[in-house]
């Protein structure tokens, strides 16, 4: 793709107009990486929260420390760690996947907290009624707890999605050809960084706004009859 860069620097507007398609091309990659990272985070977070509820403290304590460690250290360093260390263990992934994995890991740790808070927000009475009705553990989670937890956590998960979208350009540092990378390439070629970077920012702003509306739409779609949301 980079061989076909045709940028018209005759005027600012022409410059901007010819840069946009290139940036959009990168935006697709950004959105793809963000989506993959988000999906991974959802799954990883679930895994974490299930492990956290284990009865054995040999699992819960180290896990809690590990999660806090992941949450409080920079994504950039975690990304570098995975990017440079995994190959030496025989796992060579394309940078795109490594990036998604790093995002999935860190945001999975956040989502574990969100899931936990969502479950704990459900009053004890629901659990006690389930015991009184002799419902099995799996049934209680499937039919009583999770349907009530999901509507409550959607806003928080939506926030995570928007944050992930904003953090994805970090993948530029491991040479993933996403939007920021293209903006820098254009800048390097033309020595004009202002316009490509501004356009990249504007495109990101549009994406996050669309994302926010998407989240609100999902909030309305999910069945939330009778569940107090505050």
């Amino acid at each position: 793709m980079t061989g076909v860069l045709s940028i018209d620097t005759s005027s600012n507007w022409a410059f901007a107009l010819s840069a946009i398609p290139i940036l959009l091309h990168g935006l697709v990659v950004t959105v793809a990486a963000a989506s993959l990272g988000f999906t991974l985070a959802l799954v990883v977070g679930l895994l974490f929260v299930i492990l956290r509820r284990s009865r054995s403290w040999l699992i819960t304590w180290p896990l809690a420390c590990f999660l806090e460690f992941i949450r409080d250290t920079p994504l950039l360093i975690q990304l570098f760690f995975l990017y440079y260390v995994l190959p030496s263990y025989g796992i060579t992934l394309p940078a795109f996947l490594t990036g998604a994995a790093a995002i999935g890991l860190q945001y999975g740790a956040y989502m574990a907290e969100i899931y936990r808070a969502g479950i704990e927000a459900i009053g004890r009475g629901q659990w006690e009624a389930s015991v009184a009705l002799n419902l099995g553990r799996r049934t209680v989670y499937r039919d009583v707890i999770i349907p009530q937890a999901i509507p409550r956590i959607i806003p928080a998960l939506g926030n995570c999605l928007v944050s992930i979208l904003k953090e994805t350009p970090i993948l530029y540092t491991v040479s993933v050809l996403e939007m920021l990378n293209y903006a820098i390439i254009i800048g390097d070629r033309t020595y004009q960084y202002t316009i490509p970077l501004t356009l990249a920012g504007a495109l990101m702003l549009i994406m996050t706004t669309i994302c926010a509306y998407l989240v609100r739409w999902v909030e309305l779609i999910v069945p939330r009859r009778g569940i107090p949301l505050r």
Binding site: E68, D72, L76, Y84, I170, Y193, A200, G201
Partner: protein
């Protein structure tokens, strides 16, 4: 070398890494500290401006917050670092880093401030008016003490977020921990060791921030509301 010697060498290497990387902690702390102060200032300014009645102040604050919260920090940093010089404003990498993170975090801080101000029940303001307190007195004696209590936890979390953000300034050639880690990679191939030690250093700094934040929360409350369980929350 046999296993024991190799482990010993690894330990030595980790210590060497640590000594090298900790040199970057100064830059990290500097950028983080300045950015945090900037964020608090901007946060209060924008947060209060959004609650004001003057439309211009509200609009400016709104635009500022939406732009800096809606776009990536790394894009903002690059913008400041690359385009400002092209516009004739010469700015050192350090200043660019502090400014970038400060502006970005200021937008989030303004939401914290705004949230805290909104959380004060209107009844309090009505009572203040009934007691004939003027605007300044109301702010100083009624609003601010309660708002500060509300704001302490999120501002504590913000400090840790800023710490994590500082790693990005390594991309605009500030010699912080992340930058030094990248440098170390040119000397040795032990990436795992380098980045592990970096993560540990960052985590150590984060723990310090965490404990500080919980202590501030503890003392921000009146005596009868203080509880050591606040510290347990940090360990969750």
């Amino acid at each position: 070398m046999n296993d024991k010697e190799r482990d010993g060498a690894k330990m030595q290497q980790s210590v060497a890494f640590f000594e090298y990387l900790i040199g970057g902690a100064k830059a990290t702390a500097l950028v983080g500290g300045v950015a945090y102060l900037l964020a608090i200032a901007l946060g209060f300014a924008a947060g209060i401006a959004r609650a004001e009645r003057i439309p211009i102040a509200r609009t400016i604050a709104f635009v500022y917050v939406e732009i800096f919260r809606g776009t990536s920090l790394i894009v903002q940093l690059f913008w400041i670092y690359y385009s400002l010089p092209l516009m004739g404003v010469s700015i050192s990498p350090l200043m660019a880093g502090c400014l970038g993170i400060g502006l970005n975090s200021g937008a989030y801080a303004s939401e914290i401030v705004r949230g805290a101000l909104l959380s004060i029940p209107a009844a309090q303001l009505e009572a203040a008016a009934a007691l004939d307190l003027n605007r300044y007195q109301t702010l100083r004696k009624i609003v601010i003490p309660q708002a500060v209590r509300e704001m302490a936890p999120p501002f504590g979390n913000l400090s840790i977020a800023i710490l994590k953000d500082t790693a990005l300034v390594s991309m605009i050639s500030i010699a912080d921990i992340a930058f030094k880690a990248q440098q170390l990679r040119t000397f040795t191939y032990n990436s795992a060791g380098i980045y592990s030690v970096s993560l540990v250093i960052y985590f150590g700094m984060a723990l310090v921030l965490l404990v500080t934040s919980r202590t501030v929360e503890y003392y921000a409350r009146p005596k009868y509301q203080r509880s050591w369980s606040l510290f347990r929350r940090a360990a969750q």
